[in-house]
Every structure is written in C-alpha cells, then in structure tokens.
C-alpha cells in the first residue's frame, strides 16, 4: 500500500475545514427528514425525534469527505479532472474479452448441472438472464445508437401482453406466438419512434418516459382488453416442443417425462425455461455482434457520434434511428413473451418506470456498447440484491446511489472501450 504523502499542515487544515463544511451541510440535510420522523397512529400523524441520526449523517459525511481528500494524489485529482468525452479505441483485437466471453457462456451452459445448483439458483439465473437480454436489447438503442430510451419497459409489456392474449385467444404455442410478439413490439417501436426520433437527447428521454407511463396506465385501465390491474392469468405454460411438463398425461398426450423415460420432477420445466432464455439472450448477443459490422450498425454508432456529419454523408438519420428503436423493441418483445410464459400471469405492476430505469442502469453501468459489461452490471444490480434479500428496502436506495456514483467515477461505464468494427487488412504483398 502506498504511503500517505506527507501533507503540509495548511493543506490538512483546508481538508478538515472542507470536510467540516460538508458535515454541516449533511446535518442540515438530515435534520428535517432523518432527525424527525412522521409516526402513523390511530389519532393521525405525530412527530418523533431521531436526533442521533443527524449526528451519524454528519459524522459519516465528515469521514467520507476527509478520506476522499486524503486519498489525494490519484483519486482526488481524477475526480476533479474532466471526464473523458470519447471512448478509447482498442488498438489490437482484445483476446481477454473473448476468453471471458466464452468462459461465461460455458458456465451458463453447465449451470443447472453444477453440484450446488438447485431450483433456487436456476430460477435466479433465469431472472438474471431476462435482465441480461433486456440489457442487450436496450444496448442497441442506447449503447450503439445513442438514443436515450427511458420507456423501454413499454416494449417489454407489449411483448408480454401480445403473447398472453394470442396464446389465450388462439391457443397457439410459444414458438408461434414469439415472432408475433416481437413483431408487435417492433411495430409499436416504429409507431412510437417515428414522431419523436428527431428530438434531441434530453427531450427524447422524457418523451419515451412519458410513453412508458402511458402504456402502463392504459394497461391498468383498459380492463376489457388487458384485464386491468388483475392482469392476465392462466397463460399457457411452456412445453418441450409439444411435450407438456406435467406429472400425469392427459388423454392422447405424452408428457416430457414419459417421453424421455424420466421420473417427473418440477425441475424439468425450470431447467427448460432456463435454457430457453439462455438461447434467446445469446441470440440477441449474436445479432448485436454481427450487426455492428454491417453498415446499419456502423451508421448507428456514427449517428451517436455526430448526427450532422452523418447527414452530410447521405445517411438518413430518421430511418436509421427508427431501425435501432424497432429492433431494440423487438428483442424486448421476445423477452416479454418469455416472461409471460414463465410466470403464467402478468400484470401492469411488472412494467413500471423502475424496470426501465434498472435496464438503463445495467446498460450504462456496464459500459454502453459493451456486451460483457451488460452481463457484469446485471449480476451486480440484479444478482447481488437477490442474495441480500433482507436488505430489500435499501436496494433501490443503493441502486440510485450507484447510478450517480458510476456517472461521477466512470461516466462511460465499467468496461468502457470500443472495439472497431473493421480493421485494415494487410495487403498480401505488403512490404515488411
């Protein structure tokens, strides 16, 4: 550990004064809301005092600020320096990333067969993979094309509800409903996107947020179509390509267990669902990797860099943005169908703004445009809180705080660097 640099007393005094000032501000902030507490009682509200909390807050801020100032040379200076504005470009193709990627895929493939894997773990992993897929989908819109979409959850909802309604009204199987749900979400994305995509970043964010809320309110209130607050239940559970996961076979059907000669276990369906979402997520990932190397993918990234320059090169910004929006929406739609079939029941509660914020946080935290970053961020943001269930009420608090901290520390995300999509091939007869 590096030795603390010897500080002149004046610098130390300045740091102490600064930390003291910060502590005073913290005390003032804490006084009304932490120091006093509203207490519900039969006679109405009353106040209770919690003055020690003010002291705790002040002390914590004092120590934290002092620690930051003392960490001095590297950390302090870095905090004050201008955050980098362009993504660093990798000079050589990064092998570490590739290896990590393959390792993660292998781990994901064998997860259910690991010795300590139980139903709980596979369930959690399935939930995590939904977020990873949504993160990869939003990555296309936010990370690649630079369009800040705060209403991504709307497409997720459209996918889920389309699947639910289709499967209930027409009794179609998952594999048939899936493309329809994706198409519905993509269409929705285009309808939504068309009027608003020429808006600047901040405005686009707010409008998409508004759309997300509009969709939620409609889902909540259009009870005839969407089942209202009660949602839609009794959605068909998935089958293994026609073989239902049931304990006992109905007339004329063979169950999955019977077909493969296994004893029935509810675990079969869980594991199947896990591999299903894994396949969907990997498909999203593969698609993204390929599309980056295609003209449309490059156009998305160029649009993110400088839209004016794109226009001057003959690129149609509206059509390009629309395609990013629609394709991102499509993947959300797929994820939504999976969600519906896994739960067997959906309601507007699952599609609030907080979900959009979480997915956005995953993309931003991971590093916009970075596929592995999304996985890492999803594990941190969704995986860890699952393990700390008892601290549930602090989860969102920590979440918001983490978003702010990441922007202050590494605005480009944890794994922020960009692999160029094409490198100049050496000429066959190039001189050494």
């Amino acid at each position: 550990m590096a030795a603390l640099p010897a500080l002149p007393p004046s610098a130390l005094a300045a740091m102490l004064k600064d930390s003291l000032a910060a502590a005073v501000v913290a005390a003032l902030l804490a006084a009304p809301l932490l120091g006093l507490r509203l207490v519900d009682s039969a006679q109405g509200l009353s106040l209770a005092t919690r003055f020690p909390w003010i002291a705790y807050a002040a002390a914590a801020v004092f120590c934290g600020r002092l620690a930051l100032s003392l960490a001095g040379a590297s950390l302090g200076r870095r905090l004050k320096s201008r955050p980098q504005t362009t993504l660093p470009l990798t000079k050589k193709p990064s092998n570490t990333r590739k290896i990590i990627g393959w390792v993660l895929i292998v781990v994901a493939l064998v997860l259910p067969w690991l010795p300590f894997a139980d139903r709980n773990l596979v369930d959690k992993a399935t939930l995590l993979l939904i977020y990873v897929m949504l993160g990869w989908g939003l990555n296309i819109v936010v990370g690649l094309a630079g369009l800040l979409d705060l209403g991504y959850v709307a497409f997720y909802a459209v996918g889920a509800y389309s699947y639910a309604i289709l499967s209930q009204t027409f009794g179609l199987s998952f594999w048939i409903c899936l493309p329809f749900a994706g198409a519905a979400a993509a269409t929705f994305g285009m309808v939504l996107g068309f009027p608003v995509l020429r808006l600047r970043g901040d405005y686009l964010a707010i409008v998409t947020l508004g759309f997300g809320e509009i969709v939620r309110v409609i889902l909540l209130n259009w009870a005839d179509f969407t089942g209202g607050p009660g949602g839609i239940s009794g959605i068909a559970r998935p089958s293994f390509f026609g073989l239902p996961f049931k304990a006992a076979a109905g007339p004329g059907e063979t169950t999955f267990a019977d077909f493969f000669g296994l004893t029935f276990s509810p675990l079969h369906r869980i594991v199947f669902l896990y591999y299903l979402i894994l396949a969907l997520a990997l498909a999203t990932n593969l698609f993204t990797l390929r599309i980056r190397r295609l003209p449309i993918g490059r156009a998305w990234e160029a649009l993110r860099e400088d839209e004016t320059a794109c226009r001057s090169l003959g690129i149609n910004p509206t059509k390009t943005k629309l395609s990013a929006f629609a394709i991102g929406a499509m993947f959300a739609g797929f994820a939504g169908s999976f969600f519906a079939t896994r739960q067997g029941f959906i309601s507007p509660e699952s599609f609030s703004f907080i979900e959009s914020a979480i997915i956005l946080a995953i993309v931003v935290l991971g590093g916009m445009g970075s596929q592995i970053g999304v996985v890492l961020a999803a594990v941190l943001l969704c995986g860890l809180p699952e393990w700390f269930r008892d601290l549930q009420q602090y989860r969102m608090l920590a979440f918001g705080g983490a978003m702010v901290l990441i922007m202050l520390w590494r605005p480009r995300g944890l794994l922020a660097s960009r692999d160029p999509t094409i490198r100049l091939p050496a000429l066959p007869d190039a001189a050494p």
């Binding site: 809301l33 519900d40 608003v196 508004g210 918001g400 922007m407």
Partner: protein, 304 residues
C-alpha cells in the same frame, strides 16, 4: 355552468402549483441545458418538510395559523433549497464537461435515490394532514351545484403571483438576474467577464428548489395527503408545462402550468379521472412533435 366554474377554479389552482415547479425546470434547462430529473423529488421533499413543519408547529404550540404558515414556509424553502444546492454540487457540477447523457443519467439516479431516501426515512405509507386552512366563499347562483372558492385556493394563487412577480423583478432588474441571463446566453463569455458562473448556477438551483418547496407546501395543504411518489408524477406534468410554455422562459413556465392545470381539471371533470395523467403526457408528446419551442419560447437555430 357552475360545474364548469368549479373546474376552472380548481384548474387555476392546480396550474399555479404546476407553474411553480415548472419554473425550476425551465430555469435549470435555460442555464445549463439539462433536464433536472430530480426536480420532482425536490418538490416532494418540500412537501414532506412542510408536513413535518406543521406537526412541529403543533408540537411547539404555535396555533396562530398565519404565523405557523409563515414559519413553515420559511422552513420548507430553506431546507429544500439546501437539498437543491447539494444535488447540483454532488451530481451535476462534476459532470459539466462530460458527454450529453451523463448528467441526465446522474439525475435519474438522484431521483431514484431521493425517492427511496424519503421512503426509508419516513416510511412508505401515505401521510395525511388535518386541514389547517378552512373555509372559503360560496359562489353559487342558486343552482344544485355549489361552487366554492376556498381561502386556500386564493392563498395559493396569490402567493404564486407574488413570487412570480418577485422573481421576474429579480431576473430583469437586478445584477444577479443580469448575470443569470448572461450565463444562460453564453457561459464562457460570462465567466470571462467576471461572472461567477458556478455561483450563478447554484443560485438558479436554489431559486428553483425554493419555488418547488412552496408548491410542496401548497400541495400538502390542498390535498391533505402526500407520499414519496408524488414527485414523479408532478415532475412529469410540470416538465410538460415548462416545455409547453417554452423551455427557458419564465412566463412560459407559469403559462404552461396554468394550461396543464386547466386541462387536467377539465379532463378529470368531464371525461375520466383514470386517464388524466395520460392527458398530460400526451400533451407533452404533441408539443414536442409539433411545436418543440413551446408557446413563448425562441426557436433554436442549429449552428454548423
């Protein structure tokens, strides 16, 4: 006719509240070009501090209503202003040079942080308050429907108008206001001319937060019940009001607020109450598509 009149009164009152919150959005956007996503939460904090303030007055035995009101107003404005200042210092100032989305994402994080901070600190249940200001005028002309104009409604509108006049005076006639307008136009040049840009920006946040605190106080009195989520919805509507009126324009914010308030009152009065939030969001979308500069805003010419 009476029903219409009542909705009109309600709408104007609501509009005054939205207008006060909208001023915060519009001033911040005008000066640093970002949407302060956490502003709705500032308003919510203002409401909570007001509520706590009223209970404190009760606990201290101050029962003379105007005095209590005045003290709570001061308290709410003071503490909320500190929150506004702190948020700018912590979450926005360090990101001023960064890429476009960074401050916005930081603001979203701040918004979530504040919402949950209040939820954890004060409990998730809604907080009701006994009505403090009673009574009003009855304006009916003998029909079945009683049109009332309550004292509270008069106070709200009067306070808004006073504050509005006060701040317009500050912005247009004082050196502070001049410096603020200069910073809005060209931050670099203003700083070269000796304007302390950091302080001006902080002041803008403080003013916006104080006005939001007043709105929070009024909402606490008007509706009698608050919870930690009111910031989100009110924030969206106030932002819609700011955009509708023309972002960056102070009178525009009030005008936009009035319009949104009226639209919401008439919509819930005559159509449906469930979709009233949708009405506000839809207006936002319409305005941004068809007239992005709003009613009183100036068109932006792209510099190449």
């Amino acid at each position: 006719m009476d029903y219409f009149l009542q909705q009109l009164i309600n709408g104007i009152t609501l509009g005054a509240i939205y207008g006060l919150i909208a001023i915060g959005y519009t001033m911040v956007y005008g000066i640093i070009g970002m949407i302060n996503f956490a502003h709705g939460e500032i308003y919510m904090i203002g409401a909570f501090v007001s509520l706590i303030g009223f209970l404190l007055m009760g606990a201290l035995g101050i029962s003379y209503v105007p005095l209590a009101l005045f003290l709570v107003l001061l308290m709410a404005m003071l503490f909320t202003a500190i929150y506004g200042w702190a948020i700018e210092r912590i979450a926005y100032r360090p990101l001023r040079g960064s890429f476009r989305l960074a401050p916005l994402i930081s603001a979203i994080g701040m918004s979530i942080l504040l919402q949950n901070y209040v939820q954890v600190a004060q409990g998730a249940r809604v907080k009701p308050l006994q009505p403090i200001i009673h009574g009003g005028f009855e304006l009916t002309n003998g029909g079945d429907y009683h049109v009332t104009l309550s004292y509270l409604q008069i106070i709200i509108v009067a306070l808004t108008v006073t504050l509005m006049a006060g701040f317009t005076f500050i912005i247009t006639r004082t050196p502070l206001g001049r410096a603020q307008r200069a910073t809005e136009q060209d931050m670099t040049m203003a700083s070269l001319l000796g304007v302390n840009v950091d302080r001006i920006i902080s002041t803008t946040f403080i003013i916006g937060a104080s006005l939001a605190a007043v709105a929070g106080l009024m909402v606490t009195l008007y509706y009698g019940v608050i919870d930690f989520y009111i910031g989100f919805i009110a924030g969206m509507k106030a932002f819609t009001a700011a955009v509708l009126g023309g972002i960056g324009s102070l009178p525009g914010a009030i005008l936009g607020g009035l319009l949104i308030g009226l639209i919401e009152a008439f919509w819930s009065g005559y159509f449906s109450i469930e979709y009233k939030d949708v009405a506000a969001f839809s207006i936002l979308v319409m305005v941004l598509i068809f007239r992005p500069t709003g009613l009183l805003g100036k068109p932006e010419i792209e510099k190449v």
